[in-house]
């Protein structure tokens, strides 16, 4: 199994990290003990090669550990058997042909350790030992693949349950349209408290059954907006998150100072931040572009001396068809929207909720 994302030159975008990453993550999470074969065939130390030949043929295996008094004495592979047959030496004891220096792996190690060994050393199988060195199983590449696929499947099932939960959020509550509204007031220059609102919203979403990806995108978008209020407004502002079964709508409002040119504010790297703000780690001019990247729709209305209203929408059930963004720049306003989605029907689930790029 090639983990191509481990090559240094590979470009890892948010989207890719999610799709490839899950297999990689599982390789780091799954233990050998969970995927190995426990009922393995072993060869006794006092057996003869002739018996091994019959055993391999009958059981259709290409290798086996050699066991003496319950512990690993060596390992026999097809190559060893062939050497023996060529020498016409089938009456010999297995100890003559087995490999004594055996590379083993622990049941508590993660799958990634085994993968490293399989690729580096071209072994067909690895005997698995427990903490005390006792032989407890055999691991082949097939075992790894099967184990990862099983875990992915159970992952997928968990995902389905979560999606079901999210789409049936308000199922028992009867109304024409139900929503949960979370409201936060953000004080200006309250640096130490920055992030509380976004953290709370993120946790609430996870609690309500949103996927980790949606919760993260939402968290990041609100966090950037929250820090903007703290760092760049005289009086702070408010954040209102309205959560419905298929949509999250977030509104961030302040009463000053206003943005002179919203389209300029959307440019990555553009910032009016003071040196002080930069020293705090902010003011890189990525705030609004970061938000744009995380949400599905966004609009910014602002007037100097009056204030700014930022509205963001995240679809919880994105449409099946990928649509291109359309930008409308007009005086004092900046918008990014998708064209109206006529085909979206209730219950229709599309690709996992990542922003189409």
């Amino acid at each position: 199994m090639e983990l191509s994302s481990l090559r240094a030159e590979h470009v890892i975008t948010d989207k890719e990290a999610k799709t490839i990453g899950r297999i990689e993550e599982l390789s780091y999470e799954l233990r050998i003990g969970e995927v190995m074969t426990r009922n393995f065939i072993s060869v006794a130390q006092d057996m003869r090669m002739e018996q091994v030949l019959d055993l391999f043929r009958e059981k259709r295996i290409s290798g086996a550990p050699v066991v003496a008094e319950g512990s690993l004495a060596g390992i026999l592979s097809i190559e060893d058997l062939i050497r023996c047959l060529r020498a016409g030496d089938t009456q010999a004891l297995v100890t003559k042909y087995m490999a004594r220096q055996v590379v083993t792996i622990r049941a508590g190690d993660t799958v990634i350790e085994a993968l490293k060994l399989f690729t580096q050393k071209q072994y067909g199988r690895l005997p698995v030992v427990d903490e005390s060195g006792k032989l407890v199983g055999i691991l082949t590449k097939g075992d790894v693949t099967r184990g990862v696929l099983r875990a992915l499947e159970s992952d997928y099932q968990m995902e389905e349950i979560r999606r079901y939960r999210a789409s049936h959020l308000f199922e028992d509550i009867v109304s024409e349209r139900s929503s949960l509204i979370l409201r936060y007031t953000i004080a200006p220059r309250d640096f130490a408290c920055g992030g509380q609102a976004s953290s709370s919203i993120k946790k609430a979403l996870l609690r309500l059954g949103a996927t980790p990806q949606i919760a993260r995108r939402c968290g990041i978008a609100v966090y950037e907006a929250e820090m903007n209020l703290i760092l760049h407004t005289p009086n702070g502002g408010t954040i209102t998150a309205e959560i419905e079964p298929h949509l999250i709508n977030i509104k961030v409002e302040d009463d000053g100072p206003g943005i002179e040119d919203p389209s300029l504010a959307m440019k990555p790297g553009y910032s009016t931040a003071s040196e002080q703000v930069r020293e705090l780690g902010f003011g890189a001019g990525m705030g609004l572009p970061n938000i744009e990247r995380c949400v599905d729709e966004m609009s910014l209305e602002s007037a100097v001396g009056v204030g700014t209203t930022l509205t963001m929408k995240i679809d919880l059930q994105p449409p099946a068809i990928e649509l291109r963004h359309r930008y409308a720049v007009s005086l004092g306003r900046w918008e990014k929207t998708r064209p109206a989605i006529a085909s979206r029907q209730a219950g229709e689930s599309g690709p996992e909720g990542e922003v189409a790029t």
Binding site: A8, G269, S271, E275, R278, E279, G281, A284
Partner: protein
């Protein structure tokens, strides 16, 4: 190690006017995106690795007579910043790699601080 080797081995892009980089031997390396940290900590004539691409980095570069500033993450300074750098004699280099990776490779090449 000369700046030429660094530019070649890391595949960096030169943004400012070319100079005889084979004569430039950096004294060490520094990584930080906070200007105040860089001003107090970066080695004189060292190489500074950062994501920051705005005009203020040139002032820091000139003040510390840095061998070069490597701007990472594909961040692009505007023309005004590049002009200022040329005027001050500060070398700006650019790369798509992350700061972590650039520093790792510099270290691998043997760039150390005395």
């Amino acid at each position: 190690m000369t700046l030429v080797e660094i530019i070649e081995k890391l595949g960096l892009e030169l943004l400012t006017d070319p100079k005889d980089f084979s004569q430039v031997v950096p004294s060490g390396g520094y990584a930080s995106d906070l200007l105040s940290c860089v001003m107090t900590g970066a080695p004189h004539q060292g190489v500074w690795v950062t994501l920051q691409a705005h005009g203020n980095i040139v002032a820091v570069g000139a003040l510390l007579e840095l061998s070069a500033i490597i701007i990472t993450g594909g961040a692009a300074p505007d023309q005004e910043t590049i002009d200022k750098a040329n005027h001050e004699g500060v070398t700006l280099l650019s790369t798509g790699m992350t700061t972590y990776e650039v520093v790792g490779r510099l270290w691998e090449l043997g760039l150390r601080n005395s």
